[in-house]
């Protein structure tokens, strides 16, 4: 049977299809049961609507892989942080056009443009296309982009 972590690494965030839920740090723990597996996940934001889709996908994929019983439990502590996002995933976010979060800081000084790399950018809105992102614009190449907010 394929390793559960490996299967989970193939599940991407429905709102950011280039990074997996393991790279984002959403999967906290996998416990093998006698006849299945228990997966502990943590929500990014309390109101993140993607978490339900992620739960369903975890159950579907693991059952398809032969795990008879799949339990998904939610853990809240410690609270999810963007500091848990894997370094490789940060590069993927950047290539996808989303400026990756810096170290957790409520007032990030500057956010580099994910397209041209320019440091001269401005915040257009505190909230972007999803709860976890803010909307920015590059003042050099003029492209708008999403910034994954450090949390």
């Amino acid at each position: 049977m394929v390793d559960a972590w490996q299967i989970l690494s193939g599940i991407t965030d429905p709102e950011i299809p280039v990074v997996s839920i393991t790279e984002l740090g959403i999967v906290r723990e996998v416990t093998l049961l006698v006849d299945g597996v228990e997966v502990a996940i943590t929500p990014t934001y309390s109101g993140c609507p993607a978490i339900h889709m992620i739960e369903e996908e975890i159950v579907d994929r693991l059952q398809q892989a032969g795990y008879a019983e799949v339990r998904v439990k939610t853990v809240l502590a410690p609270a999810w942080s963007t500091d848990w996002i894997a370094p490789a995933a940060r590069d993927k976010l950047k290539d996808f056009g989303i400026a990756p979060p810096g170290r957790v800081n409520l007032f990030p000084r500057s956010v580099a443009c994910p397209r041209c790399g320019a440091a001269r950018t401005e915040r257009l809105s505190e909230f972007g296309s999803t709860a976890c992102k803010a909307h920015y614009r590059c003042l050099e190449c003029l492209e708008p982009f999403d910034f994954f907010k450090p949390l």
Binding site: Y45, S46, G47, E126, F127, G128, A131, H135
Partner: protein, 230 residues
């Protein structure tokens, strides 16, 4: 905690499609999502602790007005955008202070939910404080509206710090709350009204006439079709 988040979440969701600009429409919706997410965590916990088999949905949709324990501040109608923002700046600061204290002082599930929600409240505050500054220190008209909002809302903040059986120590939150609120309002050139003896009683279940309308809209579907699911 759960009812505060739930009712303010409902109020903010009313801005959906009506925001003064697209970015603010999205901001209100995002903050509403956070708050309703927080409400779900608190109400689920309350249901588990109660042990009577009620889940988050039963608590949100199955209770009547007098059973809601939210402060009156959050149920007031949205008014104009200045009113919505000034209400939020007062509430966001309260959440930051209260959740911060619970995250450190409480245990188990309460501390976990508080720590998670606190991070979100910090972001919400950044947004509401930013807009309070824009309105207060903006044009004559925006300042007039922001000041009118503050004048109307200030009296409703007294209740937040009124000790009761749930939190006999609520009064001690007011100092740290003022430390956040006073500089933000001052920077926005807004004048804090004098404190009066007015005391709303939402957290005792004695609400304004406005909560019934919020609940009527929020609960309609589950009342008309009990147990309906997507």
């Amino acid at each position: 905690m759960g009812d505060n988040a739930l009712i303010l979440g409902q109020r903010l969701a009313e801005w959906l499609g009506h925001g003064p600009q697209l970015e603010e429409d999205i901001a209100s919706a995002n903050i509403a999502l956070d708050l309703i997410g927080q409400a779900r965590l608190w109400l689920s916990l309350a249901g588990r602790l109660e042990g009577g088999g009620r889940d988050e949905d039963a608590l949100a949709h199955g209770r009547d007005q007098h059973e809601f324990r939210n402060c009156t501040l959050v149920e007031l109608p949205n008014g104009d955008y200045a009113f919505t923002i000034v209400r939020r700046v007062l509430f966001d600061a309260y959440q930051r202070v209260l959740l911060g204290r619970l995250a450190e002082g409480a245990e188990g599930d309460i501390a976990a939910i508080a720590a998670k929600s606190k991070k979100e409240a910090d972001y919400h505050w950044r947004h509401s404080a930013d807009w309070t500054l824009r309105f207060g220190d903006g044009t004559e008209e925006s300042r007039r509206r922001a000041q009118a909002a503050l004048d109307g809302l200030w009296g409703y903040t007294h209740e937040l710090f009124a000790p009761d059986a749930v939190d006999p120590d609520a009064g001690s939150l007011r100092g740290p709350w003022l430390e956040l609120v006073e500089p933000a309002l001052k920077e926005a050139t807004l004048v804090i009204p004098a404190d009066t003896a007015f005391m709303s009683a939402g957290k005792r279940g004695v609400h304004s006439e406005h909560l019934g309308y919020v609940l009527a809209e929020m609960q309609f579907l589950q009342r008309a079709y009990p147990g309906a699911r997507w």
